[in-house]
């Protein structure tokens, strides 16, 4: 046999790569490690060979303070439903959005609001739009009458790049102070032509012949105005961008049905909108979502032109679909100004990407101070679990946020309770317990030292989801720890009515 023996750097590296690729990790390595650790930690069942050290580690935690089974005991969990968003209390749990001071309500009357946003008239919107050198970007809700014009007119498509704030050749939709049926491109009374883009929630049918009374939630001075052509920038700033059009008597609860780009998208998002909101709230505190939608890979440029200036973000969003959420952040210095966030829609076992913030300055990762942990999360009950045998090791903290008002207790799972089900990796497992309550468990990262467990409610106020967020710890995705808690609700909740998700990664 003759072979070249000139082993250069590349050849050696390739050989190493091929050698290890041909010997992938055993499929059961992860689960086996976790299962053995759990078995050793709760002191039941035989220990398989090769795990002698695991048992000694687990034994060092003592009989009661078992670190792998989180001992979560709450005594002060609220029974009331104060945390449930509603029309009367529209802001997310625990927070409140101050009414805008840019709008002057009639003297002596209460400020009407929707989603915590002040409701104004069409003339007031016109006044805001024309006031001063630049309008305010605060979110407003405009009550008026809406109709889609059927006027047909010639339109020459200009030879410039399309921009979401400068739609070309669209028959106008009027938002009017009074109900009119315009036959021309103007109305008799005050009116504006709001921008209804692909990222607007249209929750009213305005295709009929009669105008419909609506509330148009939106804003002036959209953050995308700097990307307009220089000659059009002033006009771009004065466009009223409609985020959400709802019936005038609407009582808004929960999240709006996400829009999709493209509208005909057939594939389902990898993550649920509730989980996206949960992730934002973990970082930012309470938010009120104004709009939310899902954009297929490669199409973000259609709604966020500034992304082309950021090669890294552009590349990432060419590969991955994203969620786009516009929200009021209660803790912001200007809580009346909604912010637009872009969140990669990635599966739970994939590393999370940063959340991007779209502003007048362009699209950029959320500032580090906001990406870092906000701890404790607002409205959470915190339990600390020290590692008794390792004084230098910070204790695990679990923050439980109950948005249902129906959680009465969260406590440690016993050995017998844990035995009701097998571990599900990278997922939250939920099972009914014979003596009441539901077992919630998951295989987590050993770096999870700050965990947020959020219990969400359906539109009907029924607990329907448990989201475990393990993304506060080190950038470590190793699956090793087993966590298990028992949740008790009043009225009782069945496991089949609850879904769960574990968010991992940095």
């Amino acid at each position: 046999m003759t072979m070249s023996d000139d082993w250069g750097e590349d050849r050696l590296a390739n050989a190493y790569a091929a050698m290890t690729a041909a010997r992938p990790a055993p499929a059961d390595l992860q689960g086996g490690t976790l299962t053995a650790l759990r078995t050793a930690s709760i002191g039941r069942g035989p220990q398989p060979p090769g795990f002698a050290r695991l048992s000694s580690v687990a034994a060092s935690f003592g009989a009661v303070a078992i670190a792998l089974v989180l001992v979560v005991v709450f005594t002060g969990l609220p029974h009331n439903g104060a945390a449930v968003p509603s029309a009367a209390s529209p802001v997310a749990p625990g927070g409140s959005i101050a009414p805008s001071t840019a709008v002057s309500p009639p003297t002596g009357s209460a400020v009407p609001t929707i989603l915590g946003i002040p409701v104004i008239s069409v003339p007031e919107l016109i006044a805001l739009r024309t006031r001063g050198p630049a309008p305010s970007p605060e979110e407003v809700a405009v009550r008026g009458w809406m109709i889609r014009s059927n006027v047909v007119y010639d339109c020459a498509i200009p030879d410039i790049e399309q921009h979401p704030l400068v739609p070309r050749c669209l028959a106008p939709t009027f938002l009017m102070e009074r109900p009119e049926r315009p036959t021309e491109l103007t109305t008799d009374g005050p009116s504006v032509t709001p921008l209804l883009g692909p990222d607007s929630h249209m929750e009213v049918d305005i295709a009929g012949q009669e105008p419909v009374e609506v509330i148009a939630i939106g804003h002036l001075a959209d953050h995308r105005w700097p990307t307009c052509q220089p000659a059009e920038q002033d006009a771009c700033r004065r466009v009223f961008v409609a985020d959400r059009i709802v019936p005038a008597d609407a009582s808004l609860e929960g999240l709006p049905e996400p829009w999709r780009i493209p509208r005909s998208a057939s594939s389902e998002p990898s993550t649920d909108p509730e989980d996206v909101v949960s992730r934002l709230e973990v970082l930012l505190g309470d938010i009120t979502v104004v709009f939310m939608g899902h954009v297929a890979a490669g199409l973000l440029r259609e709604v966020e032109p500034a992304v082309v200036d950021r090669g890294d973000i552009d590349s990432a969003t060419q590969l991955h679909p994203v969620w786009v959420a516009r929200a009021l952040v209660a803790g912001d210095p200007e809580p009346g100004v909604a912010r637009t966030f872009i969140i990669a829609d990635r599966r739970v076992h994939e590393p999370a990407l940063p959340i991007w913030d779209a502003s007048e300055d362009g699209v950029a990762p959320l500032p580090e101070r906001e990406q870092s942990l906000r701890w404790p999360p607002r409205g959470a009950d915190i339990v600390e679990m020290p590692f008794d045998d390792e004084p230098g090791r910070p204790p695990v903290q679990v923050a439980v946020i109950d948005k249902t008002g129906k959680l009465v207790e969260a406590r440690a799972a016993t050995s017998a309770q844990i035995a009701v089900r097998d571990i599900t990796m990278n997922a939250v497992g939920i099972a009914d317990l014979p003596d009441g309550g539901v077992l919630v468990d998951w295989g987590g990262s050993m770096c999870d030292d700050l965990l947020t467990l959020t219990i969400s409610a359906s539109d009907a106020g029924i607990p329907d989801r448990v989201t475990v967020d393990g993304r506060r710890g080190l950038p470590c995705r190793l699956m090793l720890m087993y966590y298990a808690v028992v949740l008790s609700f009043d009225p009782a909740v069945r496991a089949e009515d609850l879904a769960g998700q574990y968010l991992i990664g940095p």
């Binding site: 290890t20 390595l29 090769g50």
Partner: protein, 154 residues
């Protein structure tokens, strides 16, 4: 977990040993995570733990005088086609590594598989950078000799 197993296997060249070493790595890392002060250096820190776990596994296995040969591995060498390919190189490398010391395998795997620089090797192995250079050089020489010996014996 895959990355830890990959490194363990590259050092130990044995699937069963690599599995044990990977598990030990996680246990040790879990116990000592509180000592990690710079989260940005987690990967290097974990590789250091993995190298140490591989050393311990190797010592234990050597004391027992046992070396498991995976069934999937038996007969492979005899059936290799005589073509210069990456796959053949991989199998030659795997066989040759068995002739090297555990420390030589460690430094080679970290450098050629994980792409660690000399400075990073010094940090991971906790040795001076000058020592890294000499050890890496010696390990490369030993590997070349082992590769040659494997070729001749076959």
């Amino acid at each position: 977990m895959d990355a830890v197993y990959r490194l363990s296997f590259a050092i130990l060249a044995d699937e069963a040993d690599a599995r044990d070493a990977a598990q030990d790595t996680f246990v040790t890392a879990w116990r000592q995570i509180g000592r990690l002060r710079d989260p940005e250096r987690f990967d290097a820190w974990l590789q250091r733990v993995a190298v140490n776990a591989a050393r311990m596994t190797h010592r234990a296995r050597r004391r027992r005088g046992v070396r498991e040969i995976p069934a999937s591995h038996v007969g492979e060498m005899a059936e290799l086609p005589v073509t210069a390919s990456v796959e053949i190189d991989a199998r030659r490398l795997e066989a040759a590594l068995g002739r090297l010391s555990i420390d030589q395998r460690s430094i080679l795997a970290l450098h050629h598989l994980e792409g660690r620089s000399l400075a990073e090797l010094a940090e991971i192995l906790d040795i001076p950078s000058g020592t890294v250079k000499s050890r890496l050089h010696t390990a490369r020489q030993a590997l070349h000799a082992a590769l040659l010996a494997e070729a001749i014996e076959r």
